[in-house]
């Protein structure tokens, strides 16, 4: 029943033994202690649980952890380097891209997936990409400003 899976999380090789019903969000939070990733709606709609699987943004709340066997996972904890925040993290602070903060790890991981494939997106491209990440404080304009700033364009 239990399976041992091997994955690379934020650049570190990990071996974890899980039941197949373990979801990726729970593996990250409870087995690895990476509580930066949040669970919101639990059905893939709100975006709070967004992490990168082999560079692509996915919903970890509806993904069995066994899907990540052999994969590379990046979470919000993996963005800062040598104590220096990632440009997206810094921009969210500088431009007030969050209020309560619960959607923020998902917002930033989704934005990272966007900028990794499209470094200078237009405003419409940002809006279309980010529409799947909900902010119930509704600070969407600040989020838009933060992403534009991180992409090096005028917010």
């Amino acid at each position: 029943m239990e399976q041992t899976i091997h994955l690379r999380v934020n650049g570190e090789d990990r071996e974890v033994t899980v039941r197949p019903r373990r979801l990726l969000v729970d593996l990250l939070r409870y087995d690895l202690g990476l509580t930066g990733t949040k669970e919101g709606c639990s059905v893939g709609v709100c975006g709070a649980c967004t992490v990168l699987l082999n560079g692509k943004n996915v919903a970890s709340c509806i993904m069995p952890a066994v899907f990540a066997d052999g994969a590379e996972i990046t979470t919000i904890e993996g963005l800062a380097e040598d104590g220096k925040l990632h440009p997206l993290q810094q921009a969210f602070i500088d431009y007030g891209g969050f209020q309560c903060g619960i959607c923020t790890p998902g917002q930033i991981m989704a934005a990272k997936a966007l900028l990794d494939t499209n470094p200078h997106p237009s405003e419409d491209e940002i809006k279309e990409w980010m529409m799947g990440n909900l902010c119930r404080c509704t600070g969407y304009y600040k989020i838009l400003d933060s992403i534009k700033a991180a992409a090096g364009s005028q917010p």
């Binding site: 399976q3 019903r21 919903a59 509806i62 993904m63 990409w129 529409m131 799947g132």
Partner: protein
């Protein structure tokens, strides 16, 4: 979710053998975006999940002599961003691009979306308008089913126990045909449609006379709906605005929408007529543009 076993064989034959061996206790999983939610809700409680995720040949999107092969585990995002799909099957690129959100399109697969049998899925009407077929394999053989007859009822398809959908085969999208895909979304952009319409229209050379019309609707009944009465009313006819309006009106007699929080059955029937007319108008514009 209740406990279950998980196996991810590297060969399709192994997956088919597992399905034969475990029968109704097993379920196939690919992207998991539909099945995992149904398992969380305990609507489905399989003892074994047979994953197709480690079978590389099922993941391909390729064109071969003008025919498109969409592998069962190709993601929606892979179809949407495929240069060959964008260039030669623009109706499909446009449809897959509007399913849910990027995050879900990175996970949800072509095969999973079809075998799910949810009449609110966006791709089936577009695939039906293009005369696509589903290729099914089991331990005992292979068969092809036109998508038009694949959907039997609400969440019910023609897939038999032990069968796996391996690919969707799509004939060429006629180059001279105008196409359109419209989705009525009164709530949010990532929602299922209140009604959606896929449409292809081709004209007799240099005229405004319809040679071929294909129309299919989503979210308009317990299965996708091919609007053949409307198609028949257009073939061979001059495509005046009145003709499009009359043909669209015939859709009202072919749909049988489910009342839900996206609208009552009557409202969706009215909207099916309105959005079919809009889809026809768009397709006609494109058909004239390509002539």
């Amino acid at each position: 979710m209740i406990d279950f076993d998980y196996q991810a064989p590297a060969q399709l034959d192994e997956a088919l053998a597992l399905l034969q061996q475990h029968g109704d206790d097993a379920r196939v999983i690919a992207g998991g975006t539909a099945l995992v939610i149904m398992m969380k809700q305990r609507l489905v409680q399989p003892q074994l999940l047979v994953s197709l995720r480690r079978i590389p040949e099922l993941e391909q999107v390729r064109a071969d002599n003008g025919t498109l092969h969409l592998g069962a585990t190709a993601t929606h995002r892979a179809v949407e961003t495929s240069p060959i799909v964008r260039d030669r099957w623009p109706l499909l690129a446009e449809t897959y691009r509007h399913v849910a959100t990027v995050r879900i399109r990175n996970m949800a697969t072509v095969g999973g979306g079809v075998v799910h049998g949810d009449p609110n899925q966006d791709p089936p009407p577009a695939l039906i308008a293009l005369d696509a077929k589903a290729r099914l394999r089991s331990a005992s053989g292979e068969r092809e089913v036109p998508l038009q007859s694949f959907f039997l009822d609400y969440y019910e398809t023609d897939v038999q126990p032990g069968e796996v959908l391996t690919e969707i085969v799509v004939p060429e999208q006629p180059r001279d045909a105008g196409w359109s895909w419209v989705k009525f979304l009164p709530r949010t952009a990532d929602d299922y449609a209140t009604v959606s319409v896929a449409c292809l229209l081709s004209l007799e050379n240099g005229s405004n006379r319809c040679r071929e019309a294909r129309i299919a609707l989503g979210s308009a009944a317990t299965t996708p709906v091919r609007a053949d009465a409307a198609e028949n009313a257009l073939r061979g006819q001059e495509l005046t605005p009145e003709r499009l309006r009359e043909a669209a009106q015939l859709v009202a007699g072919q749909v049988d929408p489910i009342s839900d929080f996206r609208g009552s059955s009557d409202y969706k029937r009215d909207m099916a007529v309105v959005w079919t007319r809009r889809a026809l108008e768009q397709a006609l514009q494109r058909a004239k543009g390509s002539a």
